[in-house]
């Protein structure tokens, strides 16, 4: 909402500092996003007083003048305007002034005579088209005074961020009321300049139908229209608005249209009551009706667009056709034009939900719909209506013929009881009854104290549709009392009884564990362009790039690797822990699971000069190590198995819950191999480890070179050794080397293993170990077709 500082001053009848007002409004819940100085382009112009006027020696149409601009120097200025007169004051552009058109005023010679500045016309200041002569300033302000002050244009616009619950702040009166409450000042409606003496009594009340000035007015959609005031004014002269009215509207960012439309807009900006004026001569019937739209009805709105109205939309119609979308926009056919002489003025209360529905169906938001959908003051509408009529007659002439007030089901704003004890229960402080009364009275409530049961009876004002229950008033008390005036003492409280969500701890374990391996965490967008069959589709994504919910994390990590490659970064180690989604039943809520994924490519450590240019890069075995670490962190009950060209992780129930291996991506030629893996995260932590005695006796090792069939997985050999060696105190089986190639029997490779033996209770002898190794070799040969490599 754009608020004019000068308009506020007119309400409060005192000067207002815009910054102070902004700060006060902010602390009342209506932050001011910006303070915009208006008429800024006029800032450099000052009042110049012409001292002398002499004819130009070499030009008939030019005059040589001397000008006092208050600086102490008297300037010689050559001027071509016919109306320049000694002793009068005009806008003066000093040397160096940049004119609205961009021209810079410099010292120069005009037909041989030096000129040191410029006296200006209205057009030269950008104030209209009058270029017949200089703009004579009707003032006795001292030379050097800024012209904006003399012209009364020194306004500022406060851009107020109004929350949706406060429609009253969409009018200057509401904002002025807040400031008056905070500053403890009185407030009154501004006087209308040159107001005609016209007594406009409250119009006669009717049910849902009446005749005004020969025009039938009826509400046939009571659910949509709670009140409808109408007046006929005849003999108006449509034309330009007076300057004060134009300035008010323009200060708020509205364009002046004509005196009639400007009056309706003025009242809207002042009292938050949108209104509409029809050219009475165009109404067929003549009648004006509020009714639901019939199927297929169309209307050309004020903006010249033909709109098909949805059936049931709240309409204004005459006897034959739609003439307006209630609360949103009027029709072109019945609008006020230069030739209009008779007006029908409408001032109504429309149901917010119906206006919102109409706005949404037509995708058309206006100043009026913005206000109606937040709730206007259905009881205050009468005063707004009467003010608009007086204003209309003042600025456009004419006479008020008749006025009616259709109010089918009169109601009152609610009466609410506020218990002092409840205020204390919510706010945490005992406020005296008097302070409660002060706060509520300041916002316009009528308050009656009921000390016998320690409560207040509060009649809320009509402009506050958000005040419906006791708690709403408690908030108002806190707001006006001042949040800053409530204490800030930290007290003990009962701790929460819930355990942490296990997903939180699980995610934290994985994050910490993978970061410890040198990987960097990323957080990619959960919406993706492509995904598997299970990826849920969004109904209304902003772009197809984000049309699906991810069903895996790894594809998004791949995109990040490619982006690094594109930036010439080859060492990339990333991981992500996040939610993935999978469709379940058609149109039902998808399943969600916590996943963790990683990618690795490039050097295994930052290259060092001692490496001589051959720092290793990540290979399959680094990937397996990272994956096994991830499984240990994220799903300790799962086990890693060999799959088809990759490793898979199997949960305790046998389902595959993760995989890891080499990855294909759009890699530049210089990039190292890329590996990655993804795993479903189990929510349970691994059970705490149980202590096992630290060995006290020495170990004995034996290295064996085994000849193994090339297609036999070493894991089977290791497993057999581990199982059979237990009795002989085989503590560990390590694979230390693999060799393939010349010198070996066909179809065989050499695998070096190191067996480490250790007894918990004695030092093993060589004889013990040799005997155990011999037995194990016999079993390997028999069961795994493995022999000891000789020579």
């Amino acid at each position: 909402m754009n608020i004019s500082r000068r308009w506020l001053e007119a309400f409060l009848r005192r000067p207002v500092d815009a910054r102070e007002a902004a700060s006060t409004l902010g602390m009342l819940g209506a932050p001011v996003d910006a303070i915009e100085p208006l008429a800024e382009h006029l800032a450099p112009f000052v009042v110049g007083r012409v001292l002398t006027v002499e004819p130009h020696p070499d030009a008939d149409k030019l005059r040589v003048t001397t000008v006092d601009d208050g600086s102490g120097t008297i300037w010689t200025v050559v001027c071509g305007a016919p109306n320049v007169e000694a002793g009068k004051r005009y806008p003066f552009a000093r040397l160096g002034t940049v004119m609205p058109g961009g021209l810079v005023i410099e010292r120069r010679k005009l037909r041989g005579q030096p000129s040191e500045g410029m006296l200006c016309s209205a057009r030269e200041l950008g104030l209209g088209d009058d270029h017949g002569g200089l703009l004579t300033l009707d003032t006795d302000a001292a030379p050097g005074t800024p012209v904006v002050e003399v012209l009364g244009l020194d306004d500022e616009r406060l851009v107020v961020d109004v929350t949706p619950n406060r429609p009253d702040l969409l009018g200057h009166k509401g904002v002025a009321r807040e400031l008056a409450a905070a500053w403890k000042l009185p407030m009154r409606l501004p006087a209308i300049p040159d107001e005609v003496e016209l007594d406009v009594p409250p119009p006669d009340r009717f049910g849902d139908e009446a005749v005004v000035g020969g025009i039938r007015v009826a509400i046939t959609d009571r659910n949509g229209c709670g009140r409808f005031l109408a007046a006929t004014i005849r003999g108006v002269r449509v034309g330009a608005s007076p300057a004060w009215l134009r300035e008010r509207l323009e200060a708020c960012g509205l364009r002046s249209i004509n005196n009639v439309v400007d009056v309706t807009n003025y009242v809207m900006l002042e009292l938050n009551q949108p209104m509409h004026a029809y050219d009475a001569a165009t109404l067929r019937g003549p009648a004006i009706l509020v009714r639901p739209a019939r199927a297929g009805e169309t209307l050309v709105t004020l903006d010249g667009t033909t709109r098909t109205l949805p059936e049931g939309a709240l309409l204004i119609a005459d006897a034959e056709r739609a003439i307006g979308v209630a609360g949103v926009m009027g029709g072109l056919d019945t609008e006020v034009t230069d030739g209009t002489t008779d007006l029908l003025l409408e001032c109504a209360w429309f149901a917010p939900s119906r206006v919102r529905a109409g706005k949404r169906a037509l995708n058309l938001s206006t100043d009026a719909s913005h206000r109606f959908e937040r709730g206007t003051d259905r009881w205050g509408a009468v005063d707004a209506f009467r003010r608009a009529i007086r204003l209309l007659v003042t600025v456009a002439g004419g006479t008020l013929e008749a006025a009616v007030d259709l109010h089918p089901a009169p109601t009152h704003p609610p009466r609410i009881f506020v218990r002092r004890a409840r205020v204390a229960q919510v706010l945490g402080v005992e406020l005296p009854m008097l302070e409660l009364e002060r706060c509520l009275t300041a916002i316009g409530c009528t308050v009656v104290a009921k000390p016998e049961d320690d409560r207040l009876a509060v009649d809320v004002p009509g402009w506050r549709p958000d005040l419906l229950a006791e708690i709403d008033l408690i908030e108002e008390i806190a707001r006006i009392h001042g949040y800053e005036n409530l204490p800030t003492d930290l007290r003990g409280a009962r701790p929460g009884a819930r355990d942490d969500d296990p997903a939180w701890g699980a995610a934290d374990r994985v994050r910490t564990g993978l970061a410890a391996l040198g990987l960097s965490e990323v957080m990619t967008l959960p919406m993706v362009a492509t995904g598997g069959e299970a990826a849920p589709r969004l109904l209304n994504p902003l772009s197809a790039e984000h049309g699906l919910l991810r069903d895996r994390l790894l594809p998004s990590l791949l995109r990040q690797v490619e982006a690094n490659w594109a930036a010439q970064v080859g060492d990339v180690r990333l991981y992500e822990v996040g939610t993935v989604f999978a469709r379940t039943t058609a149109g039902g809520r998808p399943a969600e699971a916590l996943h963790a994924a990683f990618v690795l490519t490039g050097h295994t450590r930052p290259p060092h000069w001692r490496d001589g240019g051959s720092t290793p890069t990540y290979d399959l075995w680094d990937a397996r190590g990272t994956f096994e670490r991830l499984v240990a962190l994220a799903h300790p009950t799962a086990r890693v198995e060999v799959g088809e060209g990759e490793w898979i992780a199997r949960g305790p129930d046998g389902t595959v819950i993760g995989h890891c291996g080499p990855l294909d991506a759009d890699a530049p030629a210089w990039a190292s191999a890329l590996f990655g893996g993804e795993l479903q995260v189990a929510l349970e932590a691994a059970p705490a480890a149980t202590y096992q005695a630290v060995p006290t006796f020495p170990a004995v090792s034996r290295d064996l070179a085994l000849l193994v069939a090339t297609d036999r997985p070493v894991a089977t050999i290791v497993r057999l050794l581990e199982e059979r060696g237990k009795r002989a105190h085989l503590e560990q089986v390590g694979v230390v080397d693999e060799f393939r190639g010349a010198g070996l029997p066909a179809g065989r490779r050499s695998v070096a293993v190191r067996l480490t033996f250790r007894a918990p209770d004695r030092t093993l002898t060589d004889a013990d170990v040799d005997q155990a190794v011999g037995r194990l070799l016999t079993q390997l040969e028999r069961e795994c077709d493995v022999t000891l490599r000789t020579a």
Binding site: Q425, I471, D472, E475, R491, P541, N564, G587
Partner: protein
């Protein structure tokens, strides 16, 4: 017999010269004097056997003293030379050559912010609750006191799931949660007060992905409900949080605001740290930065979740870790937080940073 014995005098002269020998000469001299076979002193000792008893005793004693002196002198010179050599070797090393390092893993800046926030509230008796990211419209809006035709339920604000042909009226659609508040509803319905939880998680809006907006971002909310919880507790708890999070001298203020699910509602501002409250571009000249929204849980929200608002009261708050991370690290573009640029990630999120 005494030290002026001619053979002793010659040896004594050589003893004095040891301190000036270099490593090679030292070794040669040691062999020449003490060597088992040709050593001068060794030879002298061997000749003792041929001397008369009296002479043997005096000369023998003197030679043994001299032998000890030689041994000490050689050892001292050896140590001296070794020290010089070590020093020389060290002087040859260029200690300015770069170190061998390891990759440093990092955590996401938003994760770090969220964890810091969680830890502070953990100290105040809060535990962590989480919930689904895809929600029913009822949990996301209705149960939180949003009126049925609230504009937030429009397509241009909220992301809905494709109903795949299933008819779902307004209010019963399936959506990506627009805030973490539906988890509040789930927690309230799961058990009676006291409730004290913080709720971190991803939330979604139908926003373009540009420098200052993202269609998905983190949020962290808190909820405290019990008998006797008041607006003073809200102010005190969140003020304490701000001072733990940003420093004990942080200035804090509460401004009225509006949310459908709290009443009274407030925004909490903290003094702008860039300009020290004097006003700058970052704080739009106000000297204050908005950090979180909060309020007393709306009576209707309690009632809708089966909690008696006349008995129990509570407060809730919520904030955006992405915004906090952007302020903390001075990020010009929110999209940095969604990418995997190693050059960016290695600047932030490391241990001890």
């Amino acid at each position: 017999m005494s030290s002026d014995h001619p053979s002793l005098a010659a040896l004594k002269a050589r003893l004095a010269g040891i301190a000036a020998l270099d490593a090679a000469a030292l070794e040669a001299e040691e062999i020449a004097v003490l060597g088992r076979k040709q050593g001068e002193l060794t030879a002298q000792l061997k000749t003792l056997a041929t001397l008369p008893v009296e002479e043997k005793r005096t000369l023998g004693a003197a030679l043994n003293v001299l032998k000890g002196e030689f041994e000490a002198a050689f050892a001292a010179r050896r140590a001296e030379l070794a020290a010089v050599a070590k020093q020389a070797a060290r002087a040859n090393l260029d200690l300015s050559m770069p170190a061998r390092t390891q990759w440093e893993g990092t955590r996401h800046p938003v994760t770090l912010v969220v964890e810091e926030i969680v830890e502070i509230f953990r100290g105040l008796g809060f535990t962590v609750a989480q919930g689904p990211e895809v929600e029913d419209e009822e949990y996301n809006f209705g149960a939180l006191n949003f009126p049925p035709d609230h504009p937030a339920m429009d397509m241009h604000d909220t992301l809905y799931l494709d109903p795949e042909g299933v008819e779902r009226p307004r209010g019963e659609r399936i959506l990506l949660r627009t805030h973490t508040s539906p988890v509040q509803v789930r927690v309230m319905r799961e058990g009676p007060p006291p409730i004290r939880v913080v709720i971190p998680g991803m939330v979604y809006r139908n926003d373009a992905f540009d420098a200052s907006h993202a269609p998905a971002f983190s949020q962290i909310e808190g909820l405290a409900i019990d008998e006797g919880i008041t607006f003073v507790d809200l102010k005190a708890t969140l003020t304490h949080f701000a001072r733990r999070f940003l420093g004990a001298d942080t200035r804090v203020r509460f401004r009225p605001s509006f949310f459908p699910f709290t009443e009274p509602s407030a925004e909490m501002d903290v003094g702008c740290r860039l300009c020290d409250g004097n006003g700058c571009a970052a704080c739009k000249g106000t000297g204050w930065m908005e950090i979180l929204g909060c309020g007393m849980v709306h009576e209707e929200v309690l009632r809708l979740s089966g909690i008696d608002p006349e008995r129990y009261t509570g407060f809730a708050f919520g904030m955006g870790p992405q915004r906090i991370a952007m302020q903390r690290y001075g990020l010009p573009d929110i999209r940095l937080l969604y990418g995997g640029d190693m050059r960016f990630l290695s600047q932030v999120g490391g241990l001890g940073r």
